[in-house]
């Protein structure tokens, strides 16, 4: 099971990183979504894997529980990553509406202008 989870994290990370290295806003947003999954599962896995041991207290004393702390951390992380995605989408949308393209890199002209401003001052 550990191999499966670890390789899934790896696949999600690789896909996410490839996508955030693209040059347009939409793939980057997708990439970040994939990376969020990877990171969340990664943190969750730091509590080690256990089957049939949810951290819900049961009456009999010898019950086994999985580590609840990473779960609590990941729970908020999932919600926060939604907020982050939303802000990012909003910024990408704003950039597109203002600039008429959704390139996330500065164009050659932008770079030249920025350099001119820096050195000219």
């Amino acid at each position: 099971m550990e191999i499966i989870v670890a390789s899934a994290i790896g696949v999600l990370t690789a896909g996410g990183i490839y996508l955030i290295l693209r040059l347009r806003a939409f793939p980057v947003i997708l990439g970040l979504a994939l990376l969020s999954y990877a990171v969340n599962v990664f943190i969750f896995a730091t509590g080690r894997l256990k089957v049939n041991a949810p951290p819900i207290l049961r009456d009999h004393g010898d019950a086994i529980y999985t580590d609840p702390l990473p779960q609590a951390l990941v729970l908020t992380a999932i919600v926060i990553s939604f907020g982050m995605t939303a802000v990012l989408v909003m910024i990408a949308l704003g950039a597109f509406l203002e600039a008429d393209h959704d390139r996330i890199d500065m164009t050659a002209a932008d770079t030249a202008e920025a350099t001119k401003k820096e050195t000219g001052a």
């Binding site: 099971m1 990183i17 997708l30 999954y37 951290p55 609590a72 949308l93 704003g94």
Partner: protein
Amino acid sequence: MNDGGGLLPIIAILPFLGALVPGVMIRAGRTACASFAAIPTLIALVMLGTLAPAVMGGEVLHAEIAWLPQLGLSASFFLDGLGLLFAGMILGVGLLITLYARFYLSGDDPMGQFYAYLLLFQGAMLGIVISDNILLLLIFWELTSLSSFLLIGYWNHLPEGRQGARMALAVTGGGGLAMIGGMLILGNIAGSYDLTDILGQGDAIRASEWYLPALILILLGAFTKSAQFPFHFWLPHAMAAPTPVSAYLHSATMVKAGVFLMARMWPVLSGTEAWFYIVATTGLITMVLGAVIALFKDDLKALLAFSTVSHLGLMTMLLGFGTKAAAIAAVFHVINHLTFKAALFMTAGIVDHEAHTRDIRRLGGLARLMPVTAAIGTITALSMAGIPLFNGFLSKEMMLEEASHTLWFENPWIVPVLATVGALFSVAYSLRFIFHVFGGPVRDDYPSRPHDPPFGMYAAPAVLTLLVVLIGVAPFLAEPVVTMAANAVTGADLHPHLKLWHGITPALFMSMSAVAGGIVLLVLHHPLDRGWRAAPRPEAKAIFDAILARLVAVSNSLTAGLHNGAISRYLAIFVVATVALGYAAFTGGGLAAATRPMLPVPPVAVVGWLMLVVATALVVVNHRARFKALVLIGVIGLTISGGFVYLSAPDLALTQIAVETVTIMLLLLALHFMPKTTPAESGTGLRLRDGAIALVAGGAVATLAFAFMTRDFSTISDFHLANAYKGGGGHNVVNVILVDFRGYDTYGEIIVLGIAGLTIFALLEALLSGPAAARLRNTDYSANRSRDRHPMMMVVATRAMMPIAIMVGIYIFLRGHNQPGGGFVAGLVISIALLMQYMASGFGWTQERQRVEYHAMIGLGVAVAGLTGVGAWLAGEPFLTSAFGYVHLPPIEEFELATAMLFDLGVFLTVLGGVMLMLYSLSRISRYAGETVNVGPMDFDPSQQVPSEKREAE
């Protein structure tokens, strides 16, 4: 630990507090401003005076305010003889400078600013000399660099002022950085950052293999500050400052900081060959070089600046000799140099102020026009030359005496001869100062007819001149102070006897030849000067500027290479660097053997894994097909939820499913307004590169995850499991952690979520008031619009779903404390229920029926959660401590009430408000894109149609 030094922190803070006053008091006039600038100095001086007797008696006073004692960080001060001497000099001269500057500065100069900077600088200097903790000392050290930058660049309309200030900051700041390294090493060797402890460990430090690096780094800091060769060039350029600044910084304080530090560290660092050859040699070279250059400077202040360089070299050399007698001479010269050099700077300032020039070639004959100034200038310059009956003579004799029996690489001649040469040039430029400025006939071409200034202006140099003569005639007067400081430097019990006549010694002959040679040099000055000007010599400023330009070019190309405005490049660099660092850490640490047996793999897990891998691969391949990619993202999210269920994380599964739903809705909403296609613009090479980076990073993360999953660890969660019910009253440990154990975290997180919602709202407001609004209005989105935007089936279904969904939400909320669920999930579920209404009947229609503002809901949520936390205070408990109890209300079963539930309600409200505000903001865009608001809940409403058909039939 406060033994008698309780006043020390107050003394240290006084100038900083005082710096706030002059800026305000300038409105009450210049004299009031100067007086108020003097008050903190005066108070500090009086306080120091009350401590002086104890220190003179050999005590060392301490005061400590603990800050982070675990890290060795505390504001600790101590006062010994050396500190007292320097603190007295800093405050005493500071007072004189305050008086002098009142008359020197013209009405156009912002005087409040001047005194504020001056006091800041004074505080920083004072901090250096009374700090016990070397980290604190470093902070003050950097503060002197910064505040001297402000002072040197005070006349910021002058390019020389700005350049001089920048150069001083670059050189002394750079040295300061080196010194931080050296001090940290020193603290590491000694095992303490307290000077008192470090000073006691000289032998251990000198024996350490880190001694040499620490020595070199610390000396770099001291040499740059004290303008030692080859860093001497900044000091003359700092002369662009107003003269009071030069008089203060370059006689008594800033440049003496380096000397102070070498004296302070003397018991620890000196006494080795490395110390002798580095420090003594540098001092010797600086002394001779400074004296030679000074003779050929025509600007009065430049002459004095190079003379200062030379005298600093002298003190450095003496400290470098490493003998106790030399240390006594060094301490004595610190005092003497202060008295004559500060007075000389002020004299130069007076001449400049009255004659409107400082160029020696345009001066001469001033003795008749300004006799008082001439008397002051002559006496102090004679002291600088080392003529008997003035204090400069005494310490110079001691220096020559020490030099006369110092071997340099077994050679007995080099040091004495060079020291004599230095003294000789020193006589020459001092005499030039006297004869070419005050001597000679009165001229008729001064830029302004000079005369003596008002008393207030020459009072300060006059006081110093008095000291020059007093110490010069009756050296025993200075004996207690010198003894006290020298004992503090050497850590020994010395009883130096300062006297005028030492008998016929080598030093006397050296001194005599220096005076004779100096007179000859002055007579030959004109031909020598022509030769000097004709001779090629390196120009320090040009070299410095060239080095700086080169550094700027290198950093520019480095920045442009790494930081070219392309986010994909930063991210690639970031990922590669992280993987490389991770690799280094992973391979460097030595991995323990795997201890955990692996869990068996059920077939369903393999199916889920396959789905996830295939879906991820398809997202990557199809990322340009936007809709398809979103569907696949949904698949991945659901698979992960399934994984959470299997791996004992029901709460995570619930949250993941809910978030997945709202995320997809969000992306769908956004997609409508995003460009319809993603052009393929990265070439094959780039894609291969990115693919390689991604694969390596993914492989690294997978390996790391696998490595820790197969190893055991100790967790702090046993505490949470054991106390969730006893202390938090809940069975669902994850929920109890969220709302109780780590409630403060959760509180922060819901605030972040609320802020994210408000950020989106604000971004949209800005966007819709800019050019984007016009673009939206002018873009035709109607081609993509469905004809049946609000289908009846969906409207009816969502209406029926609404109460059910809300009930599910409430149920999930209520059971959260004991079963999977809670505020986060409930908030998301209710959001989905509301979103369905928006989707079914359209944004406008639903919004009109929406009574609670989402902003208010966020605020309310945070307030409820916060007030719940505050409520704990009323019960005398820390913030967010929860309480719970069991209530029995017939006919319902006994149930639990916990304050944590109230907190969870806050979480619920914030999540609901935040999520809804985000989606609501996005959908507002569509209003600008020309979407109409439908009047009815659906486009085609059969119930509205029936009556009209009937009417037709009739």
